[in-house]
Symmetry: C2
Subunit: 210 residues, 2 copies
DNA sequence: GTTCTTCTACTTGCATTCAGGTATTTTTCT
DNA sequence: AGAAAAATACCTGAATGCAAGTAGAAGAAC
């Protein structure tokens, strides 16, 4: 008997999965957690074979939770559930210890296949996304993954830029010289390989830095 | 007997709704459409009392589909399904003829309540979002809702700006004078009440225009 | 206690954006 | 055909962004 933990704050999704698995005698949904806290509480005393983890949770970033679970729980197979087919999220997921991911628009057969595959110590990548992801894995992946380390100040300024403030406005807000802001912006652009402010923000958004 | 049409490309969601409604004898899921085309084909010959409509469909914007259905099908009650609690989408939904909306993290009871309410010719707003939405309805709503009509050219240029191109680059790409691009950008900023390019793009993103 | 990183501030020079116009041509609609 | 809307192009001047530097001060790390 394979025990499955579902971590998703949408009863709809949990219900849908339950429906998809109801005819599989060997697959047993042992619990549904709606928050990261619930999940961790449950995992403190249980060790399900499979964990279906929604990436967008209310109380914590699903990627972090994935990492936490992986540290605590070495042998559970983690399948990430995402609704958007976003290569950077998927690569991050895999890097944080997930064994695969499923798109929420999956078919029943795909779910079953994914579970079989990860139990077999393989990685499962959702069919629908495969081409896109593999593309990025092979060519741009290194670039995409090298999220350069930003300093505290740089993050702060990136955030304010994202909110639409310009150099002088940020300077006023942080009691700094406009020149300083410019230097930080310049360093940010260099670190992220951007040629303009708009590109900088796009890249940052892409890498989930803001 | 109340007939219900589900329009959602996620079997998971459809399955979840089915699960939630399986004990309600008077509620009958008559069909599940995965695309706008399927839905419209079905509606050509059927008239379900309730339509549960996912806003994010693969082949068309859910908001447009809502409008289409409302025009074709005067008396069906349309409940929008959204996963994000976004006031601008919700208001747009209602303006296009929906009778209410549900967040996808709804509980079973909320779904049942929503169906009852719209059958009773009332508007149902998801509990979880109410405060936020009502807030925006009252104060900022007009500003948020007035998604100004952009011309084709303006949309095109907005898109290119979003991709990180600057004025001259766009001009070159579209074989236009840089001045023209500037004029369009200026008009965009005026229409969307933005004070800078970054703000313009933020607002556009917020209103799901890009 | 010295090295390394980060944060800070500045200069020069050129490009671009932004605010405020005006104005002609081309579509679109009635 | 005529009016209205959209697309096109231009101008000026001030503000801001961008590139390519230099450089001092504060903190962390060894």
């Amino acid at each position: 008997m394979i025990n499955i933990l579902i971590i998703d704050d949408h009863p709809l999704v949990a219900g849908g999965i339950e429906m998809m698995l109801k005819d599989e005698e060997h697959l047993n949904i042992i619990a549904c957690a709606k928050t990261a806290k619930e999940a961790l509480d449950f995992l403190a005393t249980n060790e399900p074979e499979i964990i279906l983890l929604d990436i967008s949770l209310p109380d914590i970033d699903g990627l972090q939770l994935c990492e936490l679970i992986r540290v605590k729980n070495k042998y559970s197979k983690i399948l990430g559930l995402t609704s958007t087919n976003d290569a950077s999220i998927i690569t991050q997921l895999l890097h944080r210890g997930a064994n695969g991911y499923l798109l929420k628009n999956m078919e029943r057969s795909e779910l079953i296949e994914a579970i079989d595959k990860v139990l077999d110590n393989k990685i499962f990548l959702s069919r629908a996304a495969n081409e896109k992801v593999l593309e990025q894995f092979s060519s741009v992946s290194t670039a995409l993954n090298n999220v350069p380390a930003l300093t505290r100040r740089e993050k702060e300024i990136l955030q304010l830029l994202e909110e639409g403030l310009n150099g002088p406005q940020i300077a006023e807000k942080l009691f700094l010289s406009p020149y300083t802001i410019e230097t930080h912006r310049k360093n940010l652009m260099q670190k992220l390989n951007a040629n303009s402010l708009v590109q900088l923000l796009n890249i940052a958004r892409n890498k989930k830095m803001i």
